[in-house]
Amino acid sequence: MTHVYNTNPLQIGRHYEMDYVHSYGEVSDFFLGLQKRQLLATRCQSCGRTWLPPRRDCGACGGLTQWFKAPQAGKVHSFSVLHFAAEAFLADLPFVLAYIELEGIDTMFLSRVTGCKPEDVYIGMPVRAKFRRLVQWTPNDVVFVPAETGASAKG
């Protein structure tokens, strides 16, 4: 069925959707690691720079990297409380997006901070990784929660 919104000029509805068979390629181990409650990063064998999200090839010097387990505790480097979002995430509003600093990792990892009120999040706040039990095979399989909450990882 075609929706007609206006006739002068003529405006009609068009629909389009697509399913992709998407490959995570050379960084698949990161996503596979999340279900084992591991945060897998890579370290350049030439310059030593560390990457999380991981890269097979160093983004600074082009050298080959090696996998290693990143620490799971860190702190909030910066954040925002979102009150508007892309359509796919409207149901989650409001939520906190944060860049997480982890010891020994040269990049910052974008994730959500949950387990506290959005207004309680601050720069420098200690957080730890919490893994989702029912994995989606996306970076949402890990979130960060305030480090002081003692409850074990569930999701």
Binding site: P9, Y24, L110, I123, T138
Partner: protein
């Protein structure tokens, strides 16, 4: 040489092809018939996303519609910097000798989908493996940058709000601006929050619109505007940065030409991080070097910068060397970027007030810059019947301007310096 724009709007119900034609007609009319369609030797088409309309190879439809077939053309796309990159490509066409007269035209029609869907499409221009799936989208990314800038340098929301108010105030004198709205600092701060610390009037709107610029050799320029009423591109810069904001290094500032040693020692090992745009700095460095600019604040008369967010205009003051890193907030407090200030920024009202139909935006900046240098803002931007006095945003005796086009979270940035001949 000449330029044209359509008034950007939330929804323009003409087709993209017809919008481009309207912009082109404006540019040709401004040359009083001295340039004919057949004189155009090459074209560059700039638009950002195939998603908004579900039409791939839109450039072919527009090339055809503008009666430009079978001449050489290519589409240039680079996110929000699409228009700026198009100017760069047009310059390459002319400077290489491949073309004497090049038409750069661009458009975007974003109003066929909801704002939420549109934000999702734009978010697909961030990393779709790691950043988009957790709920990332552009207002969110910029908000984290603004938050970090506030944390590191003490920048305030009031300072960002001042930038928004300034741009809306300027837009009152520009008939091409989409938003003729009066804002106060308090009003901006109390408006609904999009993503902390950014409120709605600190964020530009998705829009429909088209713009074009005609670039040519100096010989053609003298023929087309015998009174010398054209602009010369004297500096071009282009910088890039990592798609994922979190992957940016924390290192040392790239110095600009003329910077003394040690000038940025106070943030050594921290730059750009999340607070600054390395690509913008690099673009400015190249453009200043070519245009022999060592004191940008003294040597540039105005700038049209990519204020998709009030916060990013503040950050851009610093990347362009108009203020020291961390002093962008003070720059606005001291009144420098206002009309009548040391270096008016976004006298047109910028993206905040004019809108951001992505592929047209960078070209719009070029059109406004040309009109500033011609001293023709009153004629082009005024509308006496509507009580709009364009002379109020004419920068007095403007001899040299900067335009700054910006993609992603600074993944592509172009800077062009335009001067009177």
């Amino acid at each position: 040489m000449s330029g044209g724009i359509t008034k950007f709007a939330k929804a323009n119900l003409l087709t993209q092809e017809a919008m481009c034609k309207d912009a082109l007609d404006y540019a040709l009319k401004d040359l009083d018939g001295r340039l004919e369609l057949r004189d155009i030797q090459t074209t560059i088409c700039t638009y950002f996303s195939d998603h908004f309309n579900g039409q791939l190879l839109f450039d072919s439809l527009t090339q055809d519609y503008l009666a430009m077939c079978p001449r050489p053309s290519m589409r240039i796309e680079g996110g929000g910097a699409t228009g700026g990159l198009g100017i760069r490509a047009g310059y390459m066409d002319v400077a290489s000798g491949l073309s004497e007269v090049c038409l750069v035209y661009g458009f975007e029609k974003m109003g066929e989908v909801s704002t939420e869907k549109g934000n999702e499409f734009i978010a697909l221009a961030s990393d779709t493996d790691f950043d988009f799936p957790v709920g990332g989208y552009y207002s969110g990314y910029y908000a984290t940058m603004a938050q970090r800038h506030m944390h590191e340098f003490g920048t305030t929301m009031e300072q960002m709000a001042k930038i928004a108010v300034k741009n809306y105030d300027n837009a009152f004198h520009n008939r091409w601006a989409q938003k003729h709205e009066r804002w106060t600092i308090g009003g901006v701060l109390e408006a609904p929050i999009i993503a902390t610390p950014l409120t709605r009037p600190m964020v530009c709107v998705m829009s429909d619109g088209a713009a074009c610029l005609i670039l040519c050799t100096e010989e053609w320029a003298k023929r087309l505007r015998p009174d010398g009423d054209y602009a010369v591109i004297t500096g071009l810069g282009c910088g890039t940065d990592t798609m994922r904001l979190g992957d940016r290094p924390r290192g040392d500032v790239i110095p600009l030409p003329g910077d003394e040693r040690g000038k940025y020692d106070y943030i050594a090992g921290r730059w750009p991080g999340l607070a600054s745009f390395r690509g913008g700095r690099e673009a400015a460095r190249q453009a200043y070097q070519q245009a022999n600019i060592t004191k940008p604040l003294e040597q540039i008369d105005f700038a049209e910068v990519h204020d998709a967010y009030a916060s990013s205009e503040l950050q851009t003051y610093e990347d362009m060397g108009l203020a020291l890193y961390g002093q962008g907030g003070r720059f606005v407090e001291e009144g420098h970027p206002y009309i009548g200030g040391k270096l008016p920024v976004n006298p047109s009202g910028g993206l905040l007030a004019c809108g951001h139909p992505v592929g047209a935006t960078g070209l719009m900046q070029g059109v406004f810059a040309l009109w500033q240098l011609q001293g023709s803002m009153a004629r082009h931007c005024g509308d006496p019947e509507a009580g709009i006095d364009g002379s109020k945003i004419q920068v007095e005796n403007a001899r040299r301007g900067l335009i700054h086009s910006h993609a992603g979270t600074g993944t592509y940035i172009t800077v062009h310096i335009l001067e009177r001949p």
